[in-house]
Amino acid sequence: MIKNRKLAAPYLVWMVVFILVPLAIVTYFAFTDKAGNFTLENLMIIGQYSTVFVRSLLLAAEATVICLVLSFPVSYFLSRQRAAKQKIFLMLVMLPMWMNFLLRTYAWMSLLENNGIINRILGFFGIGPFQMIYTSGAVVLGMVYNFLPYMILPLYTAMTKIDNSVIEAAQDLGAGMFKTLTKVLIPLSAPGIATGITMVFVPSVSTFIISRMLGGGSNMLIGDLIELQFLGNSYNYNLGSALSLVLMVIVLLCMSFTNGFDDEDMEGVV
């Protein structure tokens, strides 16, 4: 019973029917035109969208790096708290994810607008107003805000596995704070870093709501582009499928680079 392989059968069927087959359909559409004939044109067209790709990747990378830098100390501090406290803090990290994604982003709009809360407060002190919303900074901020927990959690999981004595050992051997960080802490939390990067980078690349709401829609990201194919004038799902396919390949490459699909690393992410 405990290792009964048959138990996986329902899921395997499910997986094939509802994960693999749909992706096969996407692939099929990516390589056909509207009439159903084989074509590579969809993929060729993508070259013309290179700026969109580059910008998306850059923005996502930026957001990922910021998330990483912000989360690293948080996760470290959390992992060194007492067990009871850790639980509470973890809950606090997870809790915002329970709010509707759109509404959270909306709240940021209220904060960042020219007449928004922040500018009002600053104006009270006679500073500003600053143009904050509709900049790429705001988009990155939105990504960081929405995906920060996805970085904190895997990092935290990795760091709880680091024994305090290993850190002390490094100090004992003459490593100051900085050296301890670079030579021990970072290498040892590498699996968490890798998972965190994937978990932040992927949704950042493919988001379109954030860029629309906080970026004012003036900069198109891959997510917008895909959405445009399915929900745009031309209703070109062949091109949409091709774009999806390319994005998926990029994402999978990133992932195969960071971790080898080990579910151990996924723990605590989700």
């Binding site: 070259g47 910008r55 209703y235 490459l253």
Partner: protein, 393 residues
């Protein structure tokens, strides 16, 4: 009107008596109605709930859901993702769907209230002879402006106002390629409907020129933005303009003299509908004067039902925005159905415009891919090597 001609459904709604509203009673019929969000008087904000009145009147259960863009509605229907009985597409989408055979021709005998619809809104090019549609709401595209921020004299410029560098960073633009291109084409002195790829290319240049001035490309966020005084200028639909002005009196709206787009959201029955007759009853009901009045009051768009105008409060009845000068209407165009090819070109141009200010070239994607592949290969090789090394001991 004589009382005996009417059936009183609720306090505010009476419907004509010479129509058999009750023929589906007790048959457990239900209708799937797919409308724009907040586009019907639904009982919120002390309004009248017209749907429950319909249900009460006819015994038909209405399953009312909403969409947010024509395209998402289209995508859903096109894919066969759902079967609806009544949908509310806009003009060009309606035409496209009709062309693609996605709509059922209406049986006009079941919609006697069609007679009450103003000629102004009937028999347009998107649906000649109104074979497939009955107009539900009508509006034009105008420009909302904030009186505190915009010099009223500038309004003379018409559409070119949106290209005025003095308002850099204070202009909101449609986040919708169709409307944007229409405006650009208008400033070029052409039809608002692109007819060739040349049109699209030229409009693109125009839009790229405008981009540095634009604060954001928005759709419904425009309400918040304009009401909150975030921006000075924003082209939007007249009905929504009225709503904004009601919220913030320092806002105004004008319709450029050179002409503009006019839009109709119409009621249609998709080909997949199982209850055509009941759907037609619903459409007929929506054209009842009382119902149309309540909807107009709630939505603030112009109702094609002629009798409504008289019943409206004075400020709406006389509003230039709700009932513009017929000459102006004459000069305006409906968005037309355009070919797939032009649509693709427009989408492409649109995304080019959106990603315009950055430098970058086509080679970046392949280069990126190559780098990623190289890194993966390196990674795999490294892992292998490490494994081998471990096995050596």
């Amino acid at each position: 009107f004589a009382a005996e001609d009417k059936i009183q459904v609720t306090e505010d709604i009476s419907v004509s008596a010479d129509y058999d509203w009750t023929r589906f009673k007790g048959q457990n019929v239900s209708l799937n109605v797919y409308n724009w969000g907040l586009y019907i008087s639904d009982g919120s904000d002390e309004s009248v709930d017209v749907i429950s009145a319909f249900e009460e009147l006819t015994g038909i259960k209405v399953n009312y859901t909403t969409f947010d863009t024509n395209e998402s509605m289209y995508a859903k229907l096109k894919s066969g993702g759902a079967s609806y009985d009544v949908i509310f597409p806009s003009d060009y989408m309606l035409g496209k769907m009709a062309n693609e055979g996605m709509l059922l021709p209406l049986n006009k005998e079941n919609i006697p209230n069609l007679a009450g619809i103003s000629e102004l809104y009937l028999d347009k090019e998107y649906d000649p002879g109104n074979v497939y549609s009955v107009p539900y709401m009508w509006c034009m595209v105008g420009i909302t402006y904030n009186k505190d921020m915009v010099d009223e004299a500038d309004l003379e410029q018409g559409w070119n106002l949106l290209w005025d560098p003095r308002y850099t960073g204070q202009i909101l633009q449609f986040n919708n390629s169709r409307d944007c291109f229409a405006m650009a084409l208008k400033t070029l002195g052409r039809s608002m409907n692109p007819t060739s790829t040349q049109d699209i290319d030229d409009a693109l240049v125009k839009l790229q020129e405008q981009k540095p001035l634009v604060q954001a490309y928005v759709m419904d966020e425009v309400f918040d933005k304009m009401e909150g005084g975030e921006a000075a200028l924003a082209p939007y639909y007249t009905g929504d303009g009225l709503t904004m002005i009601a919220e913030n009196p320092s806002l105004g709206m004008f319709i450029p003299e050179e002409g503009t787009l006019q839009c109709v959201d119409a009621m249609c029955i998709p080909a997949s509908s199982q209850n055509q007759e009941a759907a037609e009853m619903f459409i007929n009901y929506m054209c009842e004067v009382d119902v149309a009045l309540q909807n107009t009051l709630f939505v603030q768009y112009t109702s094609p039902v002629e009798a409504v105008r008289e019943l409206l409060p004075a400020e709406l009845r006389d509003s230039e925005l709700m009932y513009p000068d017929p000459e102006l209407i004459e000069r305006s165009e409906y968005p037309s159905v355009i070919s797939d090819e032009l649509n693709s070109a427009m989408d492409m141009a649109w995304s080019q415009m959106k990603s315009f200010d950055d430098t970058g070239n086509q080679w970046l994607v392949p280069v990126f891919l190559l780098v990623a592949i190289a890194m993966t290969v390196f990674n795999v090789w490294r892992r292998r090597a490490r494994k081998k090394r471990r096995q050596m001991y």
